[in-house]
Subunit: 335 residues, 2 copies
């Protein structure tokens, strides 16, 4: 038997994953996360089979109860007999295991259920790398026949904007009565929301917070983002994820949003997602090229010159770009 | 008189800013933030004069009191007769003005003091763009003779890692007794910290939180980051920024950290900063190129093919890369 190439391995794993083999699916996801040689072949093979799932980003500030809400959504989807996949993005830190792990363990109760597949991914590396890996994992689930993929991100900031770019539907989860500065941060999140959930709805002030969000949204002109079916103000829902209250209504809202993704609106949304995916791959490729160049002695000497303020960063960047483009440009090699 | 070119304007502004003209300095910072044609010429001109200031990143979760701490540090530095510049990075949202503005207004009391210059920057655009603009603004202040530049970021996540890459000294600010999930997020921040400040030290549990952080750090192997003078566990300090308590001790700790930045350790730290700066410029350049290509009909048709799952994102990215590298590669133009 000849030696197995990464391409053979990829094709074998794809065949088995498409036939419903969970072990093969898990190995594909690992390959995608670690960007092994298997990953790209597999993704190129699977991509034509993808494009049917609804990708739902679940995001929001720490403490809003995102993981509990994801668990409640899984339960609701399973009650309806619908398969569901989850991509949960963890902070990269080794210290973080504890807090987040509790929710993950809760989700292990679905270990024997073939209709549920939960995958945690580390958020290591540059931001583009994370978005690329998340998007690739979602595509694997999509091709494998999962009808809905929940993408949960822990944390706030740039990652939310990237979730919005990856997802068909972005759900922003808030807790009632957060402080002033959190309010400020929240504003950035609200702009990417297709649906807003005020979770922990049994706490005092939950419905007041929902009302305030509603009023805030009504007063705020929606940013018109190229390729997105905006500007429509997102629905505001109240849930108690821990008891499941409000979760059927959330699922119904997700389904309603999914219905808006077909037709012309859907076309522009798919185009925006394609752009984000292509840019993520492009960014990965460029990072790889730059890193390999940085390893070279010329790049090292360029950086030393910048560090000692003999050369400015623009000049150094242009010389590196010249190198990356094949050596013909901007004085590559001239240091 | 011949028409003034952007390069003339840049040189004129640089001459005046280096001579202490605050109006010219403000215009340079605006040019840097908006990436006008003036900015690059000015930065290339100023870069050889920079490299003397200590860049101090001040970061941490929402509500920890970063802005108040920055205001207290300014007061402490001014008492010592030291000039100080501040680059404050705001979330991009138009809704956010309110909460953050309060602290900014408090800082306006230094409007008549030539030894203080405070500049807010919007965090719009891609993450690399922000880091590039922040780093450039710091270099302008550095060249203009400010001995210490405080860089305050609002929010949590990827931006902290970028602050760490830009700054010589990274201060992570925490509030006492934050919840479990915030604890998890915090861990990611702790990894980039050179100094940790537990602010709001008059709240119950502040010293217990400081002790817990201390214990947590002692138990945690520090990640050895290339080019950083690690692994040393960061000092943990307690402050009450609102009253100034603990702030002289914080300034002393900043000065101690600055002293470690000279010699061999300093060399590797400067190299790491140079790498981050060059990568930021490179990333800007590539984004610009990609955007301009995306506007072209070929790029549009590539994206449409990806959106309809006829072409996979890898193939599309490689064709775009071929275009960006000058057309000779990977089947550019072949769609």
């Amino acid at each position: 038997m000849p030696a197995e190439t990464p391409a053979d391995r990829a094709n074998d794993l794809c065949d088995r994953a498409l036939a419903g083999d969970r072990h093969a699916l898990a190995r594909l996801l690992t390959a995608v996360e670690n960007r092994t040689p298997v990953a790209e072949t597999a993704l190129r093979r699977l991509y034509p089979a993808a494009g049917h799932a609804q990708l739902v980003g679940i995001t929001g500030p720490p403490g809003a109860g995102k993981s509990t809400l994801v668990a409640a959504l899984i339960a609701e989807l399973r009650r309806a007999g619908r398969p569901v996949a989850v991509v949960a993005v963890d902070p990269s830190s080794p210290i973080t295991g504890g807090a987040v792990l509790g929710d993950r363990v809760r989700m292990q109760s679905y270990a024997a259920d073939d209709g549920v597949f939960i995958r945690s991914m580390a958020s290591r590396g540059h931001a583009g790398g994370l978005s690329s890996a998340t998007s690739a994992a979602a595509a694997v689930f999509d091709a494998a026949g999962f009808d809905i993929v929940l993408i949960e991100t822990v944390g706030t900031g740039q990652s939310e904007v990237e979730v919005a770019a990856t997802a068909d539907t972005t759900v922003v989860v808030e807790a009632p009565e957060m402080g002033d500065e959190i309010q400020a941060i929240k504003a950035g999140l609200l702009e990417v929301a297709d649906l807003i959930v005020v979770n922990k709805g049994d706490r005092p002030g939950a419905h007041r917070t929902a009302g305030q969000l509603h009023a805030m949204l009504a007063d705020t002109p929606r940013e018109i983002r190229p390729g997105r079916p905006m500007p429509k103000h997102p629905e505001v829902l109240v849930t108690i994820a821990a008891t499941g209250s409000g979760v059927p209504e959330l699922l119904a809202a997700l389904d309603r949003h999914r219905a808006t993704l077909t037709g012309t609106d859907g076309e522009s949304s798919r185009l925006a997602r394609a752009e984000a995916q292509v840019w993520a791959v492009l960014s990965d490729r460029l990072h790889d090229r730059a890193r390999s160049i940085e390893a070279a002695p010329l790049a090292e000497s360029l950086l030393r010159a910048v560090a000692s303020h003999e050369l400015d960063p623009y000049a150094a960047a242009d010389r590196l770009l010249g190198l990356m483009a094949g050596g013909g440009e901007a004085g590559a090699g001239r240091l």
